[in-house]
């Protein structure tokens, strides 16, 4: 059992939970994730380790409530416990030790970019983060990222920072030159756009893929993605890959496999479910 020690709402649908997981807190590296089941009978869902405090023995999960499992997780309160937390899973992020890095975060992906930016900054890399949200209240992790370097905030409606998409700001950063590596984490269309953007600049770009997972140990093959024509299991070979080689269309298509089930589960959670066998 993993007791929740702190809870904080970061944006209208993103919540941070700090929970006890001492071993994972001790050894986790940027880019790694855990597989979580809040209680018996729940789906196993992957969540990135957004931060960790080894002295307290806690890890931070930053969760966007999109469906049944994530909604149930963010409904938990301090002192509640999460039943299963397995990890740390996946390969740690490929980091550079000097030079300049561009970190692009969209939505909840910003929380995933944060441990990467933090590690890069600790090694002495110059980090420029470009983060975005629909409007001011949707922007998360700005303060934390500001501790790791420059931050450019973009909002779709211009209510905060610049008006426009993260790709516009990212392009300007690339134009200034000297970017050695780019990291992009967010919705699939955003990661695809960033990968397309960096390609002409020849900047190595790492994206964090989020296919549907079950076990997270390489056993089921459900998380397969196409990287340069080769099938890889995102949970053990990734979740981070060379963005210039990823088949984003396939990823987006596979992510829609269970849409019908998800909509029904969501409707049930909202009390609108009439068809129960």
């Amino acid at each position: 059992m993993h007791t929740i020690l702190a809870k904080k709402q970061l944006s209208p649908n993103v919540t941070r939970l700090d929970l006890l997981a001492p071993r994972i807190a001790e050894i986790k590296k940027p880019g790694q994730f855990v597989i979580v089941r809040a209680k018996e009978g729940d789906e196993r869902i992957p969540l990135t380790i957004a931060d960790a405090d080894p002295t307290q023995g806690t890890i931070a999960l930053v969760i966007q409530a999109v469906g049944k499992a994530t909604r149930e997780l963010v409904a938990l309160e301090v002192c509640d416990a999460i039943r299963d937390v397995a990890g740390p899973l996946g390969h740690p992020t490929e980091l550079i030790s000097s030079g300049r890095a561009l970190c692009v975060g969209g939505g909840v992906g910003t929380a995933v970019v944060h441990p990467i930016a933090k590690a890069l900054h600790a090694m002495g890399v110059h980090v420029t983060s470009v983060i975005g949200g629909r409007s001011r209240e949707w922007v998360i992790f700005e303060e934390e990222l500001a501790k790791c370097g420059d931050v450019i905030v973009c909002t779709d409606d211009g209510s905060y920072g610049r008006k426009g998409f993260v790709t516009d700001a990212a392009k300007e950063v690339l134009e200034t030159g000297g970017v050695d590596i780019a990291y992009a984490v967010g919705p699939v269309p955003m990661m695809r756009a960033v990968a397309n953007l960096t390609r002409p600049y020849n900047v190595h770009t790492i994206v964090s893929l989020n296919p549907v997972m079950v076990d997270g140990t390489g056993m089921c093959g459900g998380c397969r993605v196409d990287i340069g024509g080769e099938t890889k299991f995102a949970c053990v070979d990734g979740p981070e890959f060379d963005g210039h080689k990823v088949d984003f269309d396939l990823l987006a298509d596979r992510l829609s496999t269970y849409r019908e089930f998800e909509q029904r589960a969501n409707a049930c959670a909202d009390g609108q479910c009439k068809i129960r066998r």
Partner: protein, 469 residues
């Protein structure tokens, strides 16, 4: 005591059939197909055994269960004695009694099978084990003297569970580390409820924890801890992490929506309980026409699962004929009775899909059997110009699994063979002193009983190693 019967009378008893759920009814539910022998049926069947002095069945059994001895106890009406005899030889008989390929092992060697039907050893094994479980208190549970030694077991499948049971009996402090949230390995994520009810595996796990075995779930060795880290904390290790990496066909279209590896399909339905949809949380696609590629136990489990989930047509696509199928004969028969369609001498070339990448069919070749290959089975060959399309909306690939490199990759000192399986000596010890291994990670995808045998042998070897240390 039962009245003794003459040898002639014995020979006249015919093999008792296993009572089973009606084929039509069961193809719509996930309850166990085989209902088990009554005491009366068991006694009749047990009387068929002629108590051979040089019992061939024992030699046919990979763990050398003393079969005539426990059968004799049944005929004597001493079920407790039968249970003690059986459990002394085999730690998990309620499981092996249900899933062993008896026709190739004990029953395949039984002398009564030479002229007629062999003794139904598997059914009797299951009967005694189930009786002991429901009875309770039959088996010796006296706590052993603590040895002061700590042993870690990696993986809670049949190999790991068996080893842990044997090690705890010797007074060792045993901890099992399991990657998933539930112990059991293939027994809980792969083999379906209708063949091996989960409550049976749970009861066996419960027996172990009561005996003092600690089980830590959600610990992935190679990630949460490495083998060298564990080696520093424990006096010995037993690695039994199975061969869980799915093999795909490597044909175009295999990543379309609706193509599953059998591991994923079965895990969603069994471990994650999608068989109870929509009352559970993990979804699985319910196909109208489901094509399962393969001919082993895994393929039979997947196709029978598809049928139960509601597929109008559940098909096996296999490139040889029924004779070459590696599945247990009983499973093939059950599948036939349940209305599974067998597409034999058929080999997939490509998965077809629509513009949204939903599966629409399998492009296949028809095959014929040629000369025997290295495995002794006749090699399937493509019939030129025989291409055709098998319409389907779900494809399940069940053509095998291999060693998962997750654990071994973080322990370079561990010697592997060219397929990535761990190499061991005759005692089950790996290239690292004090680190033993067994089950599928050593053998490649094999059987439950061989995994259990490895667990038992390794436990013995670990005892020897710890005494010397």
């Amino acid at each position: 005591m039962q009245p003794t019967i003459s040898a002639k009378e014995r020979m006249q008893i015919t093999r008792q059939a296993m009572p089973e759920q009606d084929a039509h009814e069961r193809s719509g539910n996930f309850k166990e197909v085989n209902l088990g022998f009554s005491e009366q049926l068991a006694l009749l069947e047990a009387q068929r055994c002629i108590q051979c002095k040089e019992a061939k069945c024992i030699k046919g059994c990979p763990v050398m269960v003393n079969i005539p001895r426990f059968i004799k106890c049944i005929t004597d009406g001493d079920l407790a004695g039968a249970a003690r005899s059986l459990f002394g030889d085999n730690a998990l008989p309620s499981i092996s009694g249900r899933v062993c390929p008896q026709e190739e092992q004990c029953e395949g060697s039984c002398i009564r099978g030479v002229k007629g039907q062999p003794v139904a050893i598997g059914y009797l094994e299951r009967f005694v084990a189930d009786w002991a479980r429901t009875q309770g208190g039959v088996l010796d549970t006296t706590a052993p003297v603590p040895s002061g030694k700590k042993v870690a077991v990696i993986g809670a499948g049949p190999a790991g569970l068996t080893a842990a049971g044997e090690l705890v009996k010797q007074g060792h402090d045993v901890t099992i580390y399991e990657a998933l949230h539930k112990p059991g390995g293939v027994l809980v994520y792969g083999i379906p409820e209708f063949r091996l009810p989960k409550k049976i595996v749970a009861a066996e796990v419960d027996r172990l924890t009561k005996a003092g075995v600690k089980i830590e779930c959600n610990v992935v060795i190679g990630r949460t801890y490495t083998i060298p880290e564990l080696r520093a904390q424990f006096d010995a290790l037993f690695i039994a992490n199975g061969a869980g990496l799915p093999v795909f066909m490597n044909v175009p279209g295999e990543n379309f929506k609706g193509v599953y590896a059998a591991n994923e399909y079965l895990t969603r339905v069994n471990l994650m309980e999608a068989y109870d949809l929509p009352n559970t949380n993990t979804p699985v696609l319910i196909g109208k026409r489901v094509a399962v590629v393969g001919g082993g136990n895994v393929a039979m489990d997947a196709v029978r699962t598809a049928k139960r989930l509601g597929a109008e047509q559940a098909m096996i696509v296999y490139r040889r004929t029924k004779e070459e199928m590696p599945a247990r004969v009983e499973e093939v028969h059950h599948a036939e009775h349940e209305g599974v369609d067998f597409q034999l001498l058929v080999a997939p070339l490509e998965v077809l899909g629509d513009d949204k990448r939903w599966v629409t069919g399998l492009k296949c070749n028809r095959m014929e059997l040629g000369e025997p290959d290295a495995s002794g089975r006749r090699k399937p060959q493509v019939i030129p110009g025989s291409e055709f399309v098998l319409e389907c909306d779900v494809v399940v690939v069940a053509i095998g699994t291999k060693a998962n490199p997750l654990l071994t990759a973080t322990c370079p000192d561990l010697k592997l063979n060219k397929w990535g399986n761990i190499e061991t000596d005759a005692n089950g010890m790996t290239s690292i002193p004090g680190v033993f291994a067994g089950g599928d990670i050593v053998r490649g995808a094999a059987t439950v009983i061989l995994a259990m045998g490895d667990g038992k042998n390794a436990a013995k070897a670990i005892n020897g190693y710890l005494e010397q240390a």
